[in-house]
Amino acid sequence: MKRITWSFVAVVTALFISANLAQAATKDEVIKRGYLQCGVSTGIPGYSNPDAKGAWTGLDVDVCRAVAAATLGDASKVKYLPLNAKERFTALQSGEIDMLSRVTTYTLTRDSSLGINFAGVTYYDGQGFLVSKKLGVKNAAELNGAAICIQAGTTTEVNLATYFKQNKMEYKPIVFDTSDETAKGLEAGRCDVLTSDQSQLYALRIKLANPDDYIMLPDIISKEPLGPAVRQGDDNWFDIVKWSLFAMINAEELGITSANIDQMMTSTDATIQKFVGKEGIKGEGLGLKDDWATQIIKQVGNYGETFDRNVGKGSPLKIERGLNAQWKDGGLQYSPPML
């Protein structure tokens, strides 16, 4: 009760105060402050997870780092705020964070009624089911009557209800606030099934005591495009976050990597010259230094590198590129041209 009262007071005062200050531009604030405040998860390996020393890594974290590299010239100047699903939008609305990069599904309701804007898609996902092998279940159609653990405040809750209704099946939703509690519920046997976006299921599975006792069902019951979001009303900041992500995706398509970016600086290819800020609009449109995209690739790497390092071949998760491959390779990752 105390917590709600406080969050209520916080939202109201934040809205109240900010009414009277002229809305400061987020980019200027970040530069003045000297670091970016980025909202992430409380710990999903591969997406946003603190290591033993408290340093954050992951695909979502790399998006924060890219924005910091573009704005501040230094990818390490980020302060991470761990948020559970229920807290995330309030944190963004009230200005506690400059951007949200936390396995968040891009939906109509969120984009149009929360006062936020989605700046692209970092990971195309879908909702899946993780079940104990002991149950002997082969696919989701056999889940009638199952007790299912879910995290509160997610798209997952709604997809699940829709799926079971469509298939005329029943289920018992056990809803927890944190992913840790949800995972514990599955391990202890409180629920038969854990459901969430597949990416997070892969990630949570490696956190379980005996990951091999659990299998992923083949069914995917929803579309979950996960991406970063910013507050509505600051178009320049929206563009910066959007194009930081596009720059990473574009770099992969153009074959620019953190390893070859220095050679690329001297390339005579017109497209690459525009990318590294030698030609074209450079940093002017976004109000950033001309080397903004170069810094992202140098310090963070292109989309493919980030993917492999955090969730793909080079990580414990070993997730296939699938939908997240470049459009030329049959995937959905497609960046508008940087012309």
């Binding site: 209520f8 939008f89 006062g115 009557g145 606030d177």
Partner: protein, 389 residues
């Protein structure tokens, strides 16, 4: 005084000043709230955040594990408010009853002349009063979670089952004619009340006593049983049975409810025990001795002399404990019990994003429940006060 009378300025008139400043204060406060409300709405609008209560009639689209009224994902967001509220009332209501029972028992036990009983009661109070409630909730939940899986359930005569998914008990099915049993019970209660009234009148007039208690118990149990037999046992049971993953049929007590209820009752019970002890200690020894010298029996002294006086000290504290229990029940969300905060301020808020409206409504509900409890307890307190002659 005389100088005041000379100056006929309105500002120096005490009555006028009193009214004037009160009106001024109220106006300023109202203006302040209007300003905040207006400002907030304007800002929400400017930032593209939806406002208003239209969401209340939209379909919720999510499931809730425990609902005392019909509910599924096709019902509205407004209805999730009712479902959550009833779940809050259920756990708080049962919690208040259990905590009171525990509190009175332990409070009296602490004053027992039996050393062991008194020590056990003291230890109980000291332990449960001093451990944070949230930890206690997690503790009981961990215990619920260590129960066996559905297939290995503990069972009692194959009618009651206990496993990690909860407790499964037979569900009564009322068949035609059962209403007679209920009417019989109501009749029995009314009869008992009449007999009590008559007995009191007679005692006042003649001094003769009548044993109301055994007669009352006989009536209240006897009449309904008679009606039950006469109407041909109109009651069936829906037994829980294992089917697939889980038990089907019967009634389920989910572990989240059990853990929360146990934690709330035991924690609040410890505080109530202290209130009861202090209440009893507040009744002076002279009272008991005087009653004893009148030849009253020990149990009558407790019932007629000690308890009524102790209650005056206990009730105000009891009120605040009941309020605490109700408010503390919102910790439910930590273990996923679908109370008002978890369902409405949690999921519904997140699906609609309308924080101000939803949190505002939730806060009003707690305010309303608190005021109702205080109102009722104040009324009860007044009634107890009147016993003073």
């Amino acid at each position: 005084m005389s100088t005041q009378k000379k100056k006929h300025s309105l500002l120096n008139n005490a009555f006028f000043r009193e009214i004037f400043f009160q009106v001024l204060l109220v106006t300023v406060i109202l203006l302040f709230f209007w300003f905040i409300a207006h400002n907030t709405m304007a800002n929400l609008d400017k930032r593209g955040i939806a406002t208003g209560f239209k969401f209340m009639s939209q379909a919720s689209g999510f499931g809730i594990i425990q609902h005392l009224v019909p509910y599924d994902e096709t019902y509205s967001f407004g209805w999730t408010f009712v479902v959550g509220l009833l779940n809050t009332i259920l756990v708080s209501g049962v919690g208040v009853i259990l905590a009171t029972l525990i509190g009175f028992t332990v409070g009296v036990a602490r004053l027992s002349s039996n050393w062991l009983i008194a020590k056990i009661a003291t230890t109980y109070v000291e332990i449960f009063r001093n451990i944070p409630l949230l930890l206690q909730i997690f503790f009981w939940y961990a215990i619920c979670r260590s129960l066996p899986s559905p297939r290995l359930s503990w069972s009692f005569e194959d009618i009651i089952f206990l496993n990690i998914r909860g407790g499964y008990v037979p569900k009564p099915i009322f068949e035609e004619g059962f209403s007679w049993v209920i009417w019989a019970a109501i009749l029995a209660i009314a009869l008992t009340l009449c007999i009590r009234y008559w007995a009191k009148k007679r005692q006042d007039a003649t001094g003769q006593q009548f044993l109301v208690l055994p007669v009352g118990i006989g009536l209240i149990f006897g009449l309904p049983v008679l009606a039950f037999l006469v109407t041909g046992s109109p009651l069936g049971w829906d037994l829980p049975t294992l089917q697939g993953f889980n038990f089907k049929g019967g009634m389920t007590i989910i572990p989240e409810f059990a853990a929360l209820l146990i934690a709330l009752s035991i924690y609040t019970g410890a505080f109530i025990a202290e209130a009861v002890r202090s209440g009893i200690l507040a009744v002076s020894k002279g009272q008991t001795e005087a009653a004893a010298s009148l030849g009253l029996h020990k149990s009558k002294i407790l019932r007629l002399v000690t308890i009524p006086q102790a209650m005056r000290v206990v009730i105000p504290q009891l009120t605040s404990q009941y309020l605490n229990l109700t408010k503390n029940s919102s910790l439910a969300t930590a273990i996923g019990y679908p109370d008002l905060v978890s369902v409405f301020s949690g999921t519904t808020l997140n699906q609609t994003g309308q924080a101000i409206e939803i949190v505002g409504m939730t806060m009003l509900v707690y305010l309303f429940i608190s005021l109702t409890i205080s109102f009722f307890m104040n009324w009860y307190n007044k009634k107890m006060m009147l016993v003073e002659r």
